[in-house]
Amino acid sequence: MKKFWALFFWFWPLVAILVCAVAPSRGWWFPSAPLSTLGHQIDGLFYLILIIVTVTFVGTQAALGYALWKGATKGSTQKAWFSHGSHKLEIIWTIVPAFILVFISLTQLDVLAEIRVISKFPDSVRNAPVAEVMARQFEWRIRYPKPGQQLMNVPQPGDLYFVNEVHVPAAIPTMINLRTQDVQHAFFVPRLRVKQDAVPGLIIPVWFEIEKAGEYELLCAELCGWGHYKMKARIIADSPKGVSEYLTRLEQEQNEDGVAEVDASKEQ
């Protein structure tokens, strides 16, 4: 029975590793490869930590299991090892992990700066948000500047409005201004590895570069009330031309006076 327990403590980490190993093939992993430039860097850091952590996990669990195995196979008459510890070991297992942890920390700094420090944002986007994403309970209200003009913090005549769908250019850096109308929300785009809280009273610039045109889920990641889970939206990345065509279309729609609509329906 003693050996059973030792094996028990060896067995479950194996199961855990196995589950993780099959996870990507079962869809229990990232929703897709990162599709933004920053996403690649974030994933790289994730896998770096994952390797370090896996080695540590396997090492410590194996050691624990072995300690148990040793205890389980020890004759009951045999004496326990009388020891109060080892100064040398303590120093080793302080210095080595400290070194690794500092190393991990240092590797993060550059990416963090790229993501968050405004002076490190790409020059092309720093002062040129393409849209304002205004979170509210429980949807995303989008405001674009009138085509050809610049986005202002205060709504301007001619601004274009939409809901739950943000059109941004693909393959070039792009920036949005994130705000909230009421409580705290968070702008989360899993496939781009982008997340930023929208804090009441603040206007927070968020930049990313989407590599390929396509649709990307956008959802809320900060509890914002009963309908938190309902904030389903999408980002549509398109060529810059496609985006400007979309905005022109949106402008037409927004100025709809019902008269043109009749003509259009007659033509059909």
Binding site: A16, P31, S76, G85, D182, R191, D197, Y229, K230
Partner: protein, 616 residues
């Protein structure tokens, strides 16, 4: 450290002055008792029952995640809260479920079971005192839990039966600040804050008591470095608690002041956390210029240290139990003490890692990242030392040991997953996903609760004079361990897959739809784990009356508490204890000389035997 020769003159504990000689009524003895042991047991039973309440709330959460919008058992039908909807719960009810699950588990289970139950019971016994320094304050610290529980109970119904507090246990403003912001933000939120404050009052009374007792009331010869690690951990926890808690209490009052106009028919109130011009639910726009991030800073300034308040005592207890069950001294006693102190110290400068996505200044983010990385270091040192403690020991494979080993094994997982979160860029992805939920459940359930399970079984004979059934305890261990891993390990993967927390219906989002079967598996695991706790309850309550009788020292352990009768009478020790050595001298030559593998801290060295200096 040089061996200190204990003062040999008999110390008079002068019971006659204080208590012990007059008859006590039943109420004085068992209800409003000032005896630390009774208070500890009161805390223990209360918190174990609250554990079941918190567990039931968790199962309701799991039900919704596995069978979204299906008729919820009990709540839908028996209480009939959602009759018209055919038992399908409403989303604000779901927010209440996870909020109250967390609140109950953190404030009514983990914090009070560690500091309240074990702290109270063990501190005087392990340091050789007859009671706490302030017995009445101690009694009050227990009885202040009741108004707290009352407030939490009222909060369930204060805003209507389906809208208990639902803004998360973190209760971020503006959501928690404006009564109109969500169904749960009305009176429910206010009552919740009162409950929180009262738990704080209770903890504070306990902390003051623990610090004073540990500093002033140690038995002769019980030097600081002869204290069991349990006492060290309680001491450090008490310090953490007493420094961090005022901040939370202040923040709580600030939030209550912000809510005053909703609380009382007055227009006078503050706006600490609400910026101007916010309109929710078509109420009048807010005025003033508060800062929602201020709450996050204040809240996490308490709540991050609180994470260690919820862990350190379990670490100390497990160190004690591992040494005893391996019949070996704790490996690296002093590094263990220093690493706990380091955790406590660093614990005060890492709170910002909860706010990496909050829009806080990125320079702060970098600082907090480095300090957070560094806090992994003392935890790692402790893990290595625990393994060192077991290494080549004469292991007793009983339920106590198994739970302790599980503590170490699962704490490793919780610690390692923390590294992902400390790294800001990676955390940006993981923030508010199930990865976080996995992480803190591995620490709080995997580590702390397994430590508590072990502790209950280890000190049960001292509490009641009888042993708990080891076979039942082993079954409980296996079911809980499997259920726990089955429930929480997949959460890592859900987090990596990008499933956000606190979603009543994650499957609305196409990229999460395929995770439903996994969530169903997790819910089944959780149900197994939940029902396994009835084994613990049954074992606990039946063993009080029918357990095998235990002598003073059923585990052949060394601590002072094992030299007292089981259960100890009023005033604890029949012979005033004098401490001659550290608590972990298992299998020492000294013990061998007596023909046993343990030697009580109170056993006087035989006259004429030259004692070797103990190297720590």
């Amino acid at each position: 450290m040089a061996t200190i020769t204990p003062a040999l003159e008999t110390h008079d504990h002068s019971h006659a002055d204080g208590h012990g000689h007059h008859e006590q009524t039943f109420i004085q003895k068992y209800v409003f008792s000032t005896d630390h042991k009774v208070i500890g047991i009161q805390f223990l039973i209360t918190t174990v029952l609250m554990l079941m309440v918190g567990g039931a709330l968790a199962l309701a959460v799991r039900w919704q995640l596995a069978f979204p919008w299906e008729s919820m058992p009990v709540i839908g039908k028996v209480f009939g809260l959602f009759h018209g909807e055919g038992g399908q719960i409403s989303p604000e009810f779901y927010t209440m479920l996870f909020t109250m699950h967390a609140s109950v588990m953190i404030f009514l289970v983990i914090i009070p079971i560690l500091a309240g139950a074990f702290g109270n019971f063990l501190i005087p016994l392990q340091i050789g005192a007859d009671d706490m320094a302030f017995p009445v304050l101690n009694m009050l610290s227990y009885w202040f839990m009741w108004p707290a529980m009352f407030c939490f109970a009222v909060s369930f119904v204060a805003s209507g039966p389906t809208a208990g507090p639902g803004n998360g246990w973190t209760s971020y403003p503006v959501l928690s600040d404006l009564a109109t912001a969500s169904p749960s933000s009305g009176a429910a939120q206010t009552w919740w804050l009162f409950g929180l404050t009262l738990v704080g009052v209770s903890s504070m009374m306990g902390s003051v008591n623990y610090m004073t007792t540990i500093i002033n009331m140690r038995a002769p010869g019980m030097t600081l470095f002869r204290m069991p690690l349990t006492i060290w951990s309680m001491f450090i926890t008490a310090i953490l608690q007493s420094f961090a808690l005022p901040v939370l209490t202040a923040a709580g009052f600030m939030l209550v002041f912000d809510r005053l106009s909703q609380l009382l028919p007055t227009t006078i109130h503050s706006v600490f956390f609400v910026p101007a011009g916010i309109i929710v639910n078509n109420a009048a726009p807010t005025v003033g210029g508060g800062q929602p991030l201020l709450w996050q800073h204040l809240f996490w300034f308490y709540s991050h240290p609180a994470v260690y308040i919820m862990l350190l005592p379990a670490m100390g207890m497990v160190s004690d139990m591992l040494a005893c069950m391996s019949r070996k001294p704790v490996f690296g006693y002093k590094p263990m003490v220093y690493s706990m102190a380091a955790i406590a110290g660093l614990g005060f400068i890492v709170w910002g890692h909860h706010m990496f996505t909050s829009g806080m200044n990125p320079a702060l983010g970098m600082t907090f990242m480095t300090s957070t990385m560094m806090i992994a270091l003392p935890s790692a040192i402790k893990v290595f030392n625990w393994i060192g403690t077991i290494w080549d020991g004469n292991i007793q494979f009983n339920a106590v040991f198994l739970n302790c080993a599980a503590f170490v094994a699962l704490f490793i997982v919780g610690g390692l997953s923390g590294i992902f979160m400390a790294a800001v860029p990676v955390d940006i992805y993981f923030h508010d996903t199930y990865f976080i939920v996995a992480h803190f459940h591995y620490v709080l359930f995997g580590a702390t609760l397994f430590g508590v399970f072990a502790g209950i079984q280890f000190w049960f004979p001292k509490m009641f004079g009888r042993l708990m059934n080891d076979k039942v305890a082993k079954v409980h261990f296996v079911l809980t361990f499997i259920g726990m891993n089955g429930t929480f390990f997949p959460m890592h993967l859900l987090g990596i897959a990008g499933m956000p927390r606190r979603y009543a219906d994650p499957y609305l989002h196409g990229y999460l739809e395929h995770l439903l079967p996994m969530n169903q598996f997790m819910t089944i695991s959780a149900i197994i784990m939940g029902f396994a706790q009835f084994l613990l309850l049954g074992n606990f309550f039946l063993s009080i009356f029918y357990g095998k009788k235990a002598g003073r020292n059923p585990w052949n352990a060394n601590g002072l508490e094992w030299s007292a009768p089981s259960p100890p009478g009023h005033g604890n020790f029949d012979v005033p204890p004098v401490c001659y050595r550290g608590p972990y001298e298992y299998s020492s030559p000294e013990a061998e000389a007596l023909g046993q593998d343990f030697i009580l801290q109170t056993t006087a060295p035989p006259a004429g035997v030259k004692r070797t200096a103990v190297h720590h």
